[in-house]
Each structure stands twice: as C-alpha cells, then as structure tokens.
C-alpha cells in the first residue's frame, strides 16, 4: 500500500507539464544521440549535464534518465538500418536486425525492438520499485568498511566483465582514483598535486573530465575515420512497421528472458547494458529449437538483446539509488549530477528525497511509453535527422563540450583541462585502454578514500576490519574473486588445452 502511495506521489510530480516536457526532450535527444555511432549514453548524458546545474534536480534527473534509456532505443536504429550499432549495447542487434532489414523487414525489427524495450523497461521499473527500498534499508547496516568494499567490488567487476586486457582496466581505474585525489585533502586540508595552481585547489571537476574523455575523445576518434552513414532504403508505412503474429509468438519469451537477464546484469556494479544484451542473445540462441536461424534474421535475435539492454539501464538505477554506487559509467555521470545538485544517493535518499526518487521511477513508465510511440511512429523522422552529415555534427559536439566545460566554473582553465582529457580519451581508445573504469573510479574515488580512511581510524590502522565484518568480508571476497577471474579463466583454458592435446596424443598413439 505504501508502495502505491509513493508511486502516486511520484506520478503526480512526473506528469507536471515541465517534467513531461523535459522527459520528452530527454528521450528524443537520447534516441537521436543513441542512433549516432560514436556517441554513447555517457557522452549524451555528460554533454547535457552542465545545462542542468541551475535546473530543479527532479526535472534534471528525469531528463537525464530519459536520455540514458533513450540511447538504448536509439542505438537500434543504425544497428538495423546500416549494420553499425549506434551504441555499444546494440552490438548484438546488428546480427539479426540488419539481416531482417535486408529481407525488407526493417519495420518489424525496429518495432519489436521498441516494444520489447518498452515491456522490459516497464517490468524492470516494477522490479526496481520493489527491490530498491529494501536494498536501501539493508544498506543502512553499512559502515565505512562495507562502503569501501563495495567500491572495490564495483572496480573489480569491471575487470571480470570487460574481458579484454585486465591490466589496462586496472590502469584506467588507478588513473581515475589518482585524478580524484587532486585538490585540497578534505581531512588534513593539505593540497595534493595542485602544482601551485589556485584553480586546482578545488579538485578537477568530473564534469570537465567526462566531457573531455567522452565528448572530445569520441569526436577525435570518429574524425580520424571518415564516418559515412549509408542507410538501407526501408518502408516505414504503418502497415509495414508492425510485427506479424508469428513475430509475436517467436519473441514473447525472448522479451521476458531478456528482461530478467538484463535487469540482473544491470544491478551488478561494473556490468551494464552491453554485457546484458550479449548474455541475453547467447542464452536465447542456446535455448532456441532452431539456433541456426540466429544471425540470419531471427526476430527473437532482436527482441532479446534489445529487451535486455533496456532492462539493464533501469536495473543500474537500483545500486545507484539504494547504495550510492553506480553500476555503469553512465550512472556514474548521473551520480556526479546528484552531487552537483547537493543530493547524496544511498540508503537515506529514500527517506530524505523520497519525492525525487519516486518521481524518477514514475517518469520511467512515462519515458518508456513515449519511446515506444516515438520509435514506432516517428522512425522516418529519426532517420532524416541521422542523414545530417557527421562533419556538421562533429564541430557542434565540440562547441557544446567546450561550453559545457566552461560553464563548470566560468573559467577557460576548465576548457584547457577538457582538451587535455579529450586527448587522453582519444589516446586511451587508440591504445585499447577502456575509459569507463576511469570515470567510475573518478566519481567514486573521494567516497572510497574517505571510507578507507574512516575504516582505518575505526580499526586503528588494521586491514582486518575489511575481513572480520561479515558484509564487508563477503564484498571483499567477491572483489578478490573478480580480480582473479581473468587469471582463473586463463588457467582453466590452459588446463583444457593441455588435456585436449594429451587426449589427442593418446588417441593418435592407439
């Protein structure tokens, strides 16, 4: 009953004309940027974050959340029509989506993706409503050791989920933590790594870093490859857009399974929409009676990953709202937003800012409804926008990034910093260093360091505090396992190879 009462309060705030308008702006902007290859959800949210500094936090959060899940919808458009995922979470959609488009079924592919995303988004929001408040209640038991362990778990899970060169993920995390230490130390008041620059005394703003790494960094990477989007000619008359009855039958369980997998992956710190869509696609293929159809235009090959990536976006809000720990780079940017508006997500959020949380949750229903309608009835309009040459969009992204960085402190020093981080982001991408761990570490860094120092004060400098308190011990154990996971995977693979070689040798001798 309390849940319904809270939801009612949330809806009464979310349906105000201003909030509806900004939700619409968020989802439309999210869909367009999600469809543009090279601009992911982090960049999309980071670019508009400076515009929200003076806005009402609830309205700002509704708009930014709309961008986040709008990107998941938008990424599908280019994945289906040009075989290039607009966002990394749409990678798996290209496999069957583009094949369907080649068969003249782009409309049903896009609409099943939109409807699947809508169903997944709605179910996930219901689960979020049920899960987040008890999770927040449970987190009230957390002290500094538990929070530090949770931050370490978030960093470590990136190593387990990213898959490629774990050492580079660790470097990226350490760099993020290092940048977070710049400025006056909050405990001692001593300056750290400021090099006598007064502008650095307050630390490096994460908005500047994020805009540099993602806005400028992505533009530099994209401008290097001449980007040209060649869309397939597809019919988007209303009767060509809707899925057939057979499509529905084939997709219904795929959507539900994708939703569950997506939400579960989404709530894990460090995982995210891309991992969710990957796992959902693979499990759907494994469960299918006709796995050979996958990759050749199976509609459930679109429905499942698209449902999963949207469910993961909503799921990522659970650890953010209830624990104050972002589950992905994009929610890390949202956490940065919370801090700018003077709000601290975590267990107390549901008590201190209940209106904001429930308005956000209510807006997710509204935003998802807007998105499904937009993505069924206005696909031609989005395709028309995407035909704007990248060479026009690219300088405009730089202009917006520059103005965003300038607006942080009304100082050109931040623009220089943005430029420096842009070059760093470009080089990291080029050298195959992931940027997301750096963002997560940068945002969580001060919180992790304070928790660590407080934990040491409690324990008198003993490390055992992290392993003697049950919740902290479990979180630390999981973090160690996650860090060791690449090593374990490598060892298992090596043992398998040796066993196979030995078996082959024995059978050859017989």
């Amino acid at each position: 009953m309390e849940l319904l009462q809270n939801l009612y309060t949330g809806f009464s705030l979310a349906v105000s004309p201003t909030n509806l308008l900004f939700a619409a702006i968020g989802v439309i902007y999210g869909t367009i940027t999600g469809a543009l290859p090279g601009i992911g959800s982090v960049t999309a949210v980071a670019l508009l974050l400076p515009l929200t500094f003076t806005m009402n936090p609830t309205t700002a959060l509704i708009m930014l959340a709309g961008i986040y899940y709008g990107v998941a919808y938008g990424g599908t458009i280019t994945a289906v029509l040009i075989n290039v995922p607009g966002d990394s979470s749409a990678v798996m959609t290209t496999l069957d989506g583009y094949q369907l488009a080649l068969q003249g079924r782009a409309g049903p592919a896009l609409s099943i993706a939109a409807i699947g995303s809508f169903i997944a988004g709605t179910i996930s929001t219901i689960i979020l409503m049920g899960l987040a408040p008890p999770l927040a209640k449970f987190a009230l038991r957390f002290g500094p050791p538990e929070y530090f362990a949770l931050a370490i778990l978030a960093f470590s899970l990136l190593t387990a989920f990213e898959g490629r060169q774990p050492i580079k993920i660790v470097v990226s995390t350490l760099l993020g933590l290092l940048i977070a230490t710049v400025g006056l130390d909050v405990v001692s008041g001593l300056p750290r790594f400021t090099f006598d620059s007064p502008q650095l005394l307050g630390g490096i703003s994460f908005v500047t870093v994020i805009i540099g790494l993602f806005g400028i960094g992505e533009v530099l990477s994209s401008v290097e490859q001449e980007m040209r989007l060649d869309f397939l000619r597809a019919k988007f008359r209303l009767r060509d857009v809707f899925p057939t009855w057979q499509d529905w039958i084939a997709s219904r369980w795929a959507i539900l399974r994708g939703t569950i997998i997506g939400f579960l992956v989404g709530i894990l710190p460090g995982a995210g929409a891309t991992t969710a869509s990957f796992l959902a696609y693979l499990s759907e293929k494994r469960l299918s009676k006709h796995p050979e159809r996958f990759g050749r235009g199976a509609i459930e090959g679109v429905a499942s990953p698209e449902s999963a990536n949207n469910a993961a976006c909503i799921g990522a809000f659970a650890p953010l709202l209830a624990l104050g720990i972002p589950g992905s780079a994009t929610t890390a940017v949202l956490l940065a937003g919370f801090m700018i508006w003077g709000i601290r997500p975590g267990p107390m959020l549901f008590q201190r800012n209940a209106d904001l949380v429930w308005a956000l949750i209510a807006s997710m229903y509204i935003g998802n409804l807007m998105l499904v309608l937009l993505n069924i009835f206005f696909i031609p309009a989005f395709v028309a926008v995407l035909r704007i040459p990248y060479t026009i969009l690219m300088p405009l992204i730089v202009v917006f990034s520059t103005m965003g960085a300038f607006s942080v402190n009304n100082d050109l020093f931040d623009v220089w910093l943005m430029l420096g981080f842009g070059v760093l982001g470009y080089l990291m991408k080029k050298l195959d260093y992931p940027v997301a761990p750096m963002v997560l570490a940068l945002v969580l860094g001060p919180f992790a360091e304070n928790s660590l120092r407080q934990a040491f004060i409690i324990s008198g400098g003993s490390l055992s505090i992290f392993f003697t308190r049950p919740i902290s011990a479990v979180l630390m154990g999981l973090a160690i396992l996650a860090y060791l996971y690449p090593l374990i995977r490598w060892a298992v693979k090596s043992v398998r190879q040796v066993t196979t070689a030995a078996t082959d040798l024995i059978s050859a001798r017989r």
Binding site: S188, L190, V399, W416, L431, D432, I457
Partner: protein, 149 residues
C-alpha cells in the same frame, strides 16, 4: 601496435614513479589513521606494477599486431586540436561565441568540404545559439572579444 603498447607501458611506469615521489612529500600518517599521502603512494606503486606488467607483456608477445597508430585520417585529429587551441588562445580577441562560430565553419569547410554558404550559415547560427542558450538563458558570463561579443 607493440610499439604503442611499449610507449604506453613506459608512460604508466614513469607516471607511477612520479606519483610515488610526489606523494612522499605529503604526510603518510595523520593523527587519526592514514594521511593525505597514503592513497596516492599506493596508487603510484600500483601504476608502477601495472606498467611493469604491460612492458613484460610487450616483450613476451612482441608479434601481436593490432593496427597502425597513425592512420590516413590522423591529420584531421591534428587539425581539430590545433584549431580548438587557436580558438581558446584567441578568446581575448574574438570572444568565445565568435571563436567557436569560426571554428565550426572552419572545420566544416576543411574536414567536411561543405560549401562556403552552408559553413557561413552554420557558423553564424552557432554564434547566435551560444549567445542565446548560454548567455541569455543560462546567464553565463561569456568571455567577450574586441567586438564586445
């Protein structure tokens, strides 16, 4: 790409060493628990260890080729960076809005090869867009140039 990885490993190693040296100038211990130099010191050590592992990998797997560092379009990256640096340096002369408008038109012309009229139009719209969104709506004190814009 092994050379790029080699350079990356060396940079990480040197950065780690610099962080360790700089963090030694900060108190490691405070009256209650760790001091401001505690975390940076361990971060520096971590970077040194990671740099060593990356360099070790470079030496062991020297043949892993993953594409060239410089590509055909790298000049566009240089051009974009150079023009943005020029804009920031010329802010006292041009102002931020006009500088960014010229930047937009310049890049559209050089990288996109769009016609002059379109470049000029988008450039002018950029100037007015910045003035309207950031100057009037968000009321940011935009740096102005000799034209007062």
């Amino acid at each position: 790409m092994w050379f790029a990885d080699l350079v990356g490993g060396v940079i990480v190693l040197l950065l780690g060493a610099a962080v360790v040296i700089l963090s030694r100038q900060l108190p490691y211990h405070a009256e209650y628990g760790p001091g401001p130099g505690f975390l940076p010191f361990w971060l520096g050590l971590g970077l040194i260890a990671c740099g060593a592992v990356i360099l070790g990998e470079v030496v062991v797997r020297r043949t892993r080729y993953r594409g060239a560092f410089f590509q055909g379009g790298t000049w566009r990256v240089g051009l974009l960076l150079a023009s943005l640096i020029a804009v920031i340096l010329l802010v006292p002369l041009l102002g931020l809005a006009i500088g960014l408008g010229l930047f937009t038109a310049f890049l559209m012309r050089t990288v996109g090869r769009h016609n002059w009229a379109l470049c000029g139009l988008i450039g002018v719209l950029t100037v007015f867009g910045i003035r309207w969104i950031f100057g009037s709506w968000l009321q940011l004190p935009l740096p102005t140039g000799i034209l007062g814009w």
